[in-house]
Amino acid sequence: MTAQVLVLLGTKKGAFLLTGNEGRTEWHLRGPFCEASPIYHMVYDDATHLLYAAGGNPWFGPGIWRSENVGETWSHTNIGLTYGEAGPGISTIWHLTPARDVIYAGADPAGLFASTDQGLTWTHVEGLRNHPTCAQWQPGYGGLCLHSIVVHPTEPDRMWVGISAVGTFATADGGQTWATRNQGVRAEFHPERYPEFGQCVHKLLLTADGAQLYQQNHCGVYRSDDAGVHWQEITAGLPSDFGFPLALHPRDPNTLYVIPLNGGDKGRYVPEGRMVVWRSTDGGDSWGPLTRGLPEEHAYLGVLREGMAVDTLDPVGIYVGTSTGQVFGSHDEGESWQQICTNLPPILSVETALVEA
């Protein structure tokens, strides 16, 4: 069997799929799918071989699409995607994470949903919105989205979520109860520099071995070696503390990638119009630029929080989708890059999958 890399692209105008050849040097584009609705995240469940896309339609509200045949046909559901009459209306589904026998979905306004029937129907995981701070959650520019869901690889009742302008929360009982996990994370836009919550986490990820959490925040990049109880800032060496995406090497917990932008109040494009992916191979203690093949000037583009992903091949492939519709790919762990697609709608998310050729 030959494995084939799929790059899953959620865009402002539907879902797209890029299929790579064996060398990851040539790519075939399909789409748009999902009725050209804005798609905020896509994911492929290796266990069931089902492909999911999540988003929101400006007329018909939140939706999750599912494909049983790697994108040939799709079906839509919104069953259960509600907080009920007492809760706020949901505009969008922002993120999907398959776990063992469940798929989780994050919504805007922030809340967690779960499906145990492979995405056909959904149930609100009420514990998170029962947290005593919920009434004080305030949306930022990106809304009040729950955009990151990470599940411990061997203890599935342990999870962490990231909520824009609210921060990180953790559960150890499958979502029944939650605790804030923001100690050591700055909130420069808040009256207190280190509040209990209110931090603007942009992307939260867990290493494959479950030992470290990393986050790209509105105010810096951070690592936690104790399940999020304490965070250590690892921004030093980067050109800016502001950025959205974060990607982790699938096997080396000390290697991670970020794409800093020029600043939260400065236009939010790559510094000086020069696109650079920054890599650390020592857990964020130091950083180095990766530039070969990336635009070196007049590139006033951004990359959103779901806009970078890695595959699991050796060497690792890295894929970046921009707010201006380009996809850049590297098949050598970031040493060199090629533009593998352009002229797409603004790209909201990038994920990868390995499927049978």
Binding site: W59, F60, G61, S75, N78, I79, Y83, G89
Partner: protein, 87 residues
């Protein structure tokens, strides 16, 4: 029976939903609830959780702009339209 006309984009999201349906209902809200019984998820497409129409969904009954509480006649014509929206 009320005659209900639905937008084509909605039929793409809800499997099996036709463009035109006839059914009995006293008011728009009951009509949507009955549609949802036959095509699960349809009410969530048209209404938010507070049981009001979504902001970019317009319903007309016999040519007049309607709300969920608008009453229907046995031969009412109900048109569900997508408002100008998007970018």
């Amino acid at each position: 029976m009320a005659q209900v006309h639905l937008p084509r984009a909605l039929t793409a999201l809800v499997p099996g939903l036709p463009l035109r349906v006839e059914l009995d209902a006293q008011a728009v809200q009951e009509l949507i609830a009955k549609l949802d019984q036959r095509w699960a998820g349809l009410a969530n497409c048209l209404c938010n959780s507070h049981m009001t129409l979504r902001p970019h969904i317009n319903v007309y009954v016999d040519g007049e702009r309607a709300m969920l509480s608008t009453m229907l006649h046995p031969r009412s014509v109900v048109r569900v339209l997508m408002a100008v929206s998007g970018g």
